[in-house]
């Protein structure tokens, strides 16, 4: 089945994608909830959210280096205050991945929130539920299937992030070498095609299971929700 090296690559990919999802999802849900309603300056936030899609991934990685690198303003502060290094570490790979999957998460959550009947929130308000209460007890559960499906898709996509990750976190086996980075590495060596093909097959299977899993999960949850 899998060689030790392949298992390590897979585990790195899983851990990077999981961490990325953990960081990205709460922020994405908050952004999506905001974007599903009207407020001044909405177009600015909307643009900002979509930036990682528009920019070349290498540029996103480079911007992260500028901000979160040792000499970058945030990176320097993080090292001083918490002793955290991000550039060229696994956490850094997760941060780059988090940024890249962020637009996808916002989009899925936003669609879910926009499908929500705002009159139900009014009904909750007159039953003495405050704004936070309404968000957690009505909006979030009803948008849940859409958000979760988005999260599974984003997780699958997150395991395949390349440009931003390699720029910000480099290609360190056992640390930041995820599946696509490993494919890239073996392709650089003569005769690496067969190993590359194995890894590619693995990557493809994971991505497809993610998509199919998301679809089934959403159907199942929606059915449960509507009784």
């Amino acid at each position: 089945m899998l060689s030790a090296a392949e298992a390590q690559i897979l585990s790195t990919s899983f851990s990077v994608a999981s961490l990325a999802l953990l960081w990205s999802l709460p922020v994405a849900i908050a952004c999506a909830f905001l974007l599903a309603r009207q407020f001044p300056g909405k177009f600015l936030l909307d643009g900002l959210v979509h930036l990682p899609i528009i920019l070349p991934p290498v540029l996103t990685g480079f911007l992260l280096l500028l901000l979160f690198g040792r000499n970058g303003p945030i990176g320097h502060w993080l090292e001083q205050v918490a002793g955290i290094h991000l550039a060229f570490t696994r956490k850094g790979a997760a941060l780059a991945t988090a940024v890249m999957i962020f637009p996808m998460l916002v989009r899925a959550s936003r669609i879910a929130f926009e499908a929500l009947d705002p009159r139900l929130l009014d009904a909750a308000a007159v039953l003495r539920a405050g704004p936070w209460d309404r968000f957690f007890s009505i909006a979030l559960p009803l948008a849940g299937p859409g958000i979760l499906a988005g999260a599974v898709t984003a997780f699958a996509a997150g395991m395949g992030e390349f440009g931003a990750v390699i720029t910000f976190a480099a290609n360190i086996p056992g640390q930041t070498q995820t599946l696509p980075l490993a494919i890239y590495a073996v392709l650089q060596q003569p005769g690496g095609e067969s190993e590359a093909l194995r890894l590619a097959g693995l990557s493809f299977t994971l991505a497809m299971s993610g998509l199919i899993g998301a679809e089934f999960l959403q159907r199942w949850m929606t059915r449960r929700l509507k009784g």
Partner: protein, 335 residues
């Protein structure tokens, strides 16, 4: 008790609402008006779901007052709302919908939820999901849920709009019983004069976003502004429900007697099928545009109206001060 005082102005696109009225803290007040007259906007403003100019006061508490930029959020007002479309939470069962309200009710004012469930006959529905309830079941669950939240005042936005005939009358009966049992002041929106008469002790009539008439139901319905709200075939008057023979003890406060359904006689009729023969004195006779005449008659059940032809007025010599008997079919009382 918690009287409600409202003096608000609200602009929504091309629609303007300007309403000033007082709602007593006991009894049921009906907000009556044709669709588009601003009834739902008025309710939203009182509940705090939309911001408005002016003020809304419940008892001694100011709920909103634009003069001092006060706008209490809806979840702090203690005003419950039963919406036309029930708005049950689809991800929760009936039991969980009820629990949602119960958990958020002030601890010292919580009602016995099993008692409420029995009252609205929803105990067998508790474990159902709200998606497969009938219209009537949804309405009852929505009422129970609103009541369990222990509001100080309850607003109902055409809660029986989805119900027809028998079910509608049954639901009105539930509202009347509920009012008696739980002593909760209520404001009910409707565009049906029969529903209004059945429920109302007090009236706020709206037309084009303004108050056309307000006061105790039987008096307010006699204000000149009120008649203009009605379809000509609904033209009539409120009669005391307790004093009329309506075929069943309805417990309804008033019944709407349509002028078209009242026959007049100037001698006491005998051997006749009409169950209600009301003796009274003619107060006025008005000729309408179409040539028919509206006769106002003071009776023991209140001032009622009868529409008769001009020939009949001449033949019976109907004029102010004349003694007359009004005949009302029981059937006419069950609109």
């Amino acid at each position: 008790m918690n009287a409600l005082d409202v003096d608000i102005r609200l602009v929504r696109g091309a629609f303007r609402l300007k309403a000033k009225f007082h709602v007593p803290g006991d009894g049921i007040t009906v907000v009556f008006g044709p669709s588009g007259s601003g009834k739902s906007s008025l309710l939203s403003a009182i509940a705090g779901l939309v911001e408005c100019k002016g003020y809304v006061r419940l008892g001694r508490t100011m709920l909103s007052d634009s003069a001092v930029d006060l706008h209490m959020p809806p979840d702090e007002r203690g005003i419950g709302v039963v919406f036309q479309d029930a708005r049950l939470f689809p991800h929760l069962t009936v039991r969980q919908n009820r629990a949602f309200a119960f958990k958020r009710a002030p601890a010292d004012r919580r009602r016995d939820i099993e008692d409420v469930a029995r009252f609205f006959d929803i105990t067998p529905l508790l474990d159902r999901s709200v998606g497969n309830l009938s219209g009537g079941e949804k309405s009852r669950v929505a009422l129970a849920r609103a009541l369990v939240a222990a509001p100080d005042f309850l607003l109902l936005d055409e809660p029986f709009a989805a119900l027809d005939g028998m079910r509608r009358r049954a639901f009105i009966q539930v509202l009347l019983d509920m009012h008696k049992r739980f002593a909760l002041p209520m404001l009910v929106v409707t565009h049906s004069i029969d529903d209004a008469a059945a429920l109302a002790s007090h009236l706020v009539a709206l037309r084009d976003g303004e108050v056309a008439a307000t006061g105790p139901f039987d008096q307010a319905t006699r204000e000149p502004g009120f008649a203009a709200l009605l379809d000509s075939r609904d033209c009539g008057a409120a009669a005391s429900g307790i004093l009329l023979h309506s075929g069943a003890d309805s417990g309804q406060r008033y019944l709407w007697l349509r002028a078209d359904h009242i026959v007049l006689a100037t001698k006491r009729p005998v051997a006749i099928s009409a169950r209600n023969i009301l003796e009274g004195e003619v107060m006025s006779v008005q000729t309408e545009q179409d040539g028919s005449c509206l006769v106002e008659l003071a009776t023991s059940v209140g001032v009622i109206l009868s529409r008769v032809t001009g020939e009949a007025v001449a033949e019976l010599e109907l004029a102010e001060g004349k003694r007359a008997w009004a005949l009302v079919k029981v059937h006419a009382l069950q609109a």
